[in-house]
């Protein structure tokens, strides 16, 4: 039954059951409170100095009030995700998307192996030089390991792209693979509000109460739809806590979902876990505070926690903007993802490592790799401050959201094709 029909039913049933007690009240004999006497206005003697004082105080009060109001208004965060469907959908789908990347990453060698092709360009006219990038990952010591090719610049020997003959890699190159882990999620989660839809309806699948659908548009313009089937029940030990269990298919793999939503004073806190097996999972926990809406993602791979990141969400001009941040003993990183109106993603970053800081911009597009016969992310990095300023390009794996033969993997159902 649709909500509108349900509302009509309730309204009609309530009106039918409503008694009329108006005629049971005798207004003429009822006790009616007397209005308190209006206090007599004191006589005010006007004098120029008094009027001026009052005027000055009033002006001061108005300006102070206006200033304080603006301060308060500016500091009040607007939640990017507001409804239950948005919160559940975003966290569940993003966690599963990140989890689905585990198959692309070898956790034992991720820090030490090359992650893909790095093409650093000093001059667009030159033939691109292929080099091996320093290994990214959670182990910061590997960032100082140069790739095996001799002509590739390294973080220990920074070079800027000021001449034609010199190629360079940005300091942030070491983190491209880490960014790629999240890029698949960003591609499908960050879109204008008009491009996405979160919906919860009663599930027709036996064994599940609810069906959450999330539809979005990827960077190739395909409309994708993801489905999560789940049950939700009140925790028998805590009435303010709802327990959630369900499944979500992503590609050919089905992931188990579990979590809870807790009403805690003025907030509702959600925690979800997308699980491949007991040693490989991603947890998402709500850490929203006065600074805005934030979620902590913990990636556990082969029983080891491989990364802890915070994702802050904001809504800017109807667009969802996500900022990923993490800090370890050796590095601090912040990547701000936003979908561009012209297509692709823009990432603004700030990366500190080994006492060196770099800021810059990455433009990410999806391109077809003829050799590998698959779509890849192409990074165009512009390091704008730091010791490695200049332009460089990288390639990263993209999970198959849409295959060449029209098969749509990574989703339960799909509309449209590229």
């Amino acid at each position: 039954m649709k909500r509108r029909e349900l509302k009509n039913l309730i309204q009609n049933a309530a009106i039918a059951a409503m008694p009329d007690v108006c005629n049971r009240i005798n207004l003429q004999t009822a006790v009616i409170a007397e209005m308190p006497e209006q206090p007599t206005r004191p006589q005010i003697r006007f004098g120029l100095s008094g009027v001026l004082k009052v005027a000055m105080v009033s002006i001061f009060a108005v300006f102070s009030g206006f200033f304080l109001y603006n301060q308060f208004r500016d500091q009040t965060p607007v939640l990017a995700l507001q409804t239950e469907a948005e919160v559940y959908g975003f966290t569940m789908v993003s966690a599963t998307s990140i989890l689905s990347q585990f198959s692309l990453i070898d956790p034992l060698s991720a820090d030490l192996t090359d992650f893909g092709t790095v093409i650093a360009l000093a001059d667009p006219g030159n033939n691109p030089t292929t080099q091996n990038a320093p290994g990214p990952g959670t182990n910061p010591t590997t960032q100082d390991n140069p790739g095996p090719t001799t002509d590739a610049p390294t973080t220990t020997n920074p070079t800027t792209t000021t001449t034609e003959s010199v190629v360079t890699a940005a300091l942030v190159a070491a983190k491209v693979e880490t960014v790629t882990r999240y890029l698949n999620a960003m591609e499908i989660m960050l879109a204008e509000k008009t491009e996405t839809e979160y919906k919860i309806v009663a599930s027709e699948t036996v064994g599940y109460q609810w069906l959450l659908t999330y539809s979005t548009i990827d960077l190739l313009g395909n409309t994708l739809e993801y489905e999560i089937r789940y049950n939700e029940e009140v925790d028998p030990e805590n009435a303010n806590r709802h327990l959630i269990t369900g499944v979500m298919a992503f590609g050919d793999v089905e992931y188990a979902m579990s979590g809870s939503a807790v009403i805690d004073g003025e907030t509702i806190r959600t925690t979800f876990r997308a699980e491949l097996d007991e040693d490989n999972y991603v947890t998402v926990s709500d850490e929203t505070d006065a600074d805005g809406q934030k979620y902590r993602y913990t990636l556990v791979q082969n029983g080891e926690t491989t990364q802890n990141v915070t994702m802050r969400l904001q809504r800017e001009n109807q667009k969802l903007v996500a900022t990923l941040a993490w800090t370890t003993e050796a590095e601090t990183a912040e990547f701000r993802f936003q979908k561009k109106t012209t297509g692709g993603l823009e990432i603004r970053y700030r990366y500190l490592c080994g006492g060196e800081e770099e800021t810059g911009k990455m433009d990410v597009d999806v391109e077809y790799d003829q050799e590998r016969e698959t779509f890849c992310y192409q990074y165009a990095v512009d390091a704008q401050t730091g010791n490695h300023m200049g332009h460089s390009e990288y390639s990263g794996d993209r999970s198959n959201k849409t295959g060449m033969n029209g098969h749509h993997s990574g989703m339960m159902g799909s509309i449209g094709s590229f």
């Binding site: 039954m1 059951a17 008694p19 009240i25 009822a30 009616i32 003025e266």
Partner: protein, 177 residues
């Protein structure tokens, strides 16, 4: 644009025992008063008595209402307090017998064309959810005002409202099977 109902003007007339003004105030507020009472008290006779008591108390304490404030929310708060007082005093000691006492949601009163009565519809809801759903749907009370009435943050009210609708949809789905 629909002009706002002038409560303060009617209340001034009400103080002079103007019957028409009272009827108008009653018509404007009865849904909210009824909604909050039936969310808490389930006996037909008690609900009627509490509605009457609410209006009597409103008249007796009219001096405590500040003109310009939300009169609807004020009278609903009176109804809620009375209903809770009643609930605390009687809910364990008075067994409700639908056959003898004329249960408020007796199927005789059911919305005949739909086949659903209010009891069936709101049965899966707890007391807070009943208040939120009935205040919003029956009396068109804004969620912001409901948040004040039930003393919960707006986000929680919205969340509970959606949860309640889903519970009812599921309940009806079961009934239809």
């Amino acid at each position: 644009m629909i002009p706002l109902f002038d409560f303060d003007g009617r209340l001034a007339l009400l103080r002079q025992r103007d019957e028409v003004a009272f009827q108008e105030v009653y018509d404007q507020t009865k849904r909210g008063v009824f909604a909050v009472i039936v969310a808490i008290v389930r006996d037909r006779g008690d609900a009627e008595d509490l509605m009457q008591e609410t209006y009597m108390k409103m008249l007796a304490h009219l001096d405590q209402y500040e003109p310009g404030r939300n009169f609807n929310a004020w009278i609903v708060q009176i109804a809620k307090n009375l209903a809770f007082d009643h609930y605390r005093k009687h809910h364990q000691s008075i067994p409700v017998d639908p056959q003898e006492q004329g249960y408020l949601f007796d199927r005789v009163d059911a919305h005949e064309s739909s086949g659903y009565d209010l009891e069936t519809l709101i049965a899966p809801l707890d007391q807070d959810e009943r208040q939120i759903v009935l205040l919003h749907i029956v009396s068109n009370t804004k969620f912001k005002d409901i948040a004040t009435i039930v003393d919960k943050p707006l986000g929680t009210v919205l969340w509970m409202y959606n949860r309640a609708l889903k519970k009812m949809q599921k309940q009806i789905g079961r009934g239809a099977e």
